[in-house]
């Protein structure tokens, strides 16, 4: 009934190679896009945007970035928070230095800067692997946060040590600053996310992505069959840094409005994004979305149920959230190491055979 290839004839290579080859899947994808762009913007208000949609969209970008590095290329990074801070501070410096240039260009440039920084910290990955690399990326996390806290040039010598997003517009509509409309910020992030996801999806199923996966599965074997590990690892760090930097820039400029490196981009952020891709599924673009949605919704849900319905104190709910997140990660690793994305794949396979599975 669903997801059937039957009757779906391909007459050209372009059709055969498209991202969603099954007609049902393709229409579902169009429907989701239509929902996202044409229906949701009319229904949302400030609460929905700030509590759910903006964090979801922005973390999705970060999760896609980390998934390229960790899920596709196998280089575990615990420095995501630090790299997001690079994006945020880069965007801030650009916004204040060139107020007339469009914010969109600033966000992309901030991503580019982060990509370069990420490559610098990724260089040791050629020598060191596995845990040693994971711990080495922590050096990036701590060093970068320290740098942004201690060097006043980065926060324009402001007295509080914070950075505040100035008001910037796109087509005359404000997207940063205190007076934004809910739908404007939502659409701004959604457009960027959609483009990022398209780029990531097509990169990972092309030659570049296959090289990354070869390195992930066994780097020595990949080297022997002709994959250049230098190029593959460095490109993964660069692309990952680009996405993470964009996420950091949006997180600061559109979502928070004001940020301080230690609070907003600390080590907990690195772990949060890592958890997103573990729960969502390593090596899957859909998994990045699923993981981000799950970990954004979980605290909101718990808070509503425990504090709102049962009337428990908020600190208790926060601790319970730790237990649940920790327990879920262990559970996922034991029961379904490939995460929510694998559950989705299994469900699709079941639906394809339904209602006559034999």
């Amino acid at each position: 009934m669903f997801y059937r290839e039957a009757g779906d004839f391909k007459t050209s290579y372009a059709e055969d190679n498209q991202t969603f080859p099954v007609k049902f899947d393709r229409y579902r994808y169009y429907a989701v896009l239509f929902m996202g762009f044409a229906i949701i913007p009319f229904l949302i208000n400030d609460y929905w945007v700030n509590a759910i949609f903006l964090p979801f969209l922005i973390y999705s970008i970060a999760a896609i970035g980390l998934n390229i590095l960790t899920g596709y290329c196998g280089q575990v990074s615990l420095g995501t928070g630090g790299f997001m801070a690079v994006g945020a501070y880069g965007c801030y410096k650009l916004m204040t230095a060139f107020p007339d240039v469009s914010i969109l260009i600033h966000v992309l440039l901030a991503g580019g800067i982060t990509g370069i920084v990420c490559v610098v910290f990724g260089l040791p990955s050629l020598r060191i692997k596995g845990f040693y690399l994971a711990v080495a990326t922590l050096a990036a996390q701590f060093f970068l946060v320290w740098l942004f806290n201690r060097v006043p040039w980065f926060y324009n010598y402001s007295a509080s040590g914070q950075i505040n997003a100035p008001e910037r517009t796109i087509f005359g509509i404000e997207v940063t600053g205190p007076n934004t409309e809910a739908w404007a910020t939502y659409l701004f992030c959604l457009v960027i996310l959609t483009v990022c996801a398209l780029i990531a999806r097509n990169l990972t199923r092309g030659m570049q992505g296959r090289q990354w996966m070869a390195i992930r599965d066994m780097d020595i074997a990949a080297e022997i069959i002709g994959v250049n590990p230098l190029k593959a690892k460095i490109s993964a760090f660069a692309v990952s840094g680009f996405f993470v930097g964009i996420a950091g820039a949006l997180f600061f400029a559109v979502y928070l409005g004001a940020a301080e490196a230690g609070d907003s981009f600390g080590i907990t952020k690195s772990f949060l994004v890592l958890f997103m891709i573990i729960i969502g599924g390593l090596g899957s673009i859909f998994g990045s979305f699923a993981g981000a949605a799950f970990l954004v919704l979980l605290p909101v849900f718990l808070k509503n149920v425990l504090v709102g319905t049962l009337g428990w104190p908020t600190d208790l709910a926060a601790h319970l959230e730790f237990i649940i997140v920790g327990g879920l990660i262990i559970m996922f690793l034991i029961l379904e190491p490939h995460g929510l994305a694998q559950l989705w794949r299994v469900a699709k396979e079941k639906l394809r055979l339904w209602p006559f599975p034999h």
Binding site: F143, W312, I334
Partner: protein, 328 residues
């Protein structure tokens, strides 16, 4: 003697003491890694959890009191007794053994044969879980831990050095005790690993799981034992750090301090953990002393990592780690 040099020496000594404490945490990591190949990120949280449990038992707190009050609307907090420190430490040890059994039974038994990085992520999950459990069980406010360890400036060293240089060194008594305990602990662990039956079995498991299984070593038992020993090391580290700066969330962050120590010394080497700890302790204190004021201070947060990173580029297996041999 110029003042700077004397200050430098004092900083050096304090660095050595701090290094001992780092080494204490790193030791727990090395033990588990050697015996089961699991890189246990939760070691720091285990230290926090054990310290919280110790304080809770000593003060006669009701476990999960906060939760019970929230659900049933009651107002219970304390049993109203105080447990002596020695008994409380023994009871806490019991809790840590129980924890080891649970961790083995519910988590790692199901993950045998998985990739090391999956196991690492499972321990991050475990760290979150334990942190939440610890906070719900005993409350998250800062607690004082008093088990009768001496604290404050050591007057003997102060006076002796004053006699030598005309300037008294400030060395905390607690750091001296910690050093003594660390030396005892390491000796005890080495004797345990070299001369007892269980110790030999542990080393056999570390060497080769399947070979150990085939000569009749129970993997399950060894792993529970290793987690218990790591729990014990965590308890000692928890007592030391807890007495130093109070039992609070930041205690779990000492795990992050121990990671560069491990990288430097190599994940598989007990002497490596100790020497790495000393190098990091001295290095970061000296760097903060010499360079810190020029760049705005607080370099301790990242210096250890950068130092370890530079070391690693030249020796990817750490100072004392086993040579990494890669095959297709």
């Amino acid at each position: 003697m110029p003042d700077q040099l004397i200050f430098g020496m004092e900083v050096f000594l304090n660095g050595l003491m701090a290094g001992v404490l780092y080494a204490l945490v790193a030791l727990g990591f090395v033990l588990i890694y050697k015996a089961s190949g699991i890189f246990n990120y939760a070691q720091g949280v285990m230290a926090l959890f054990s310290a919280l449990t110790l304080v809770g038992i000593m003060e006669g707190q009701v476990p999960f009191g906060h939760l019970i009050n929230a659900i049933f609307g009651t107002e219970i907090h304390h049993f109203g007794w105080h447990v002596p420190a020695v008994l409380a430490i023994l009871l806490t040890m019991g809790v840590m053994v129980l924890l080891a059994v649970c961790v083995q039974k519910f988590v790692f038994r199901h993950l045998v044969g998985q990739e090391p990085i999956i196991l690492f992520m499972a321990t991050i999950g475990l760290a979150y879980f334990l942190e939440g459990v610890g906070d719900i069980m005993w409350g998250s406010e800062i607690k004082k831990l008093e088990v009768g360890l001496p604290q404050g400036i050591n007057t003997l060293i102060d006076e002796t050095t004053y006699g030598w240089f005309g300037y008294g060194f400030f060395i905390d008594n607690l750091d001296l005790v910690a050093t003594a305990i660390a030396i005892l602990l390491v000796s005890a662990l080495v004797i345990f690993a070299q001369y007892t039956k269980q110790g030999r079995a542990m080393r056999a498991v570390a060497d080769d799981h399947q070979a150990a299984l085939s000569v009749g070593v129970s993997l399950n038992f060894i792993w529970i034992m290793v987690w218990s020993v790591a729990g014990f090391v965590a308890l000692v580290a928890g007592i030391m750090w807890g007495a130093k700066s109070g039992v609070q969330f930041s205690l779990s962050l000492i795990a992050l301090k121990a990671l560069p120590v491990l990288m430097l010394g190599g994940f598989t080497s007990i002497p490596g953990a100790i020497i790495g700890g000393l190098i990091i302790g001295v290095g970061e204190k000296m760097f903060e002393f010499a360079v810190g004021p020029l760049v705005g201070g607080a370099t301790e947060n990242w210096f250890a990592y950068v130092l370890a990173l530079i070391f690693l580029v030249f020796r990817p297996q750490g100072l004392f780690g086993e040579k990494i041999i890669e095959r297709v």
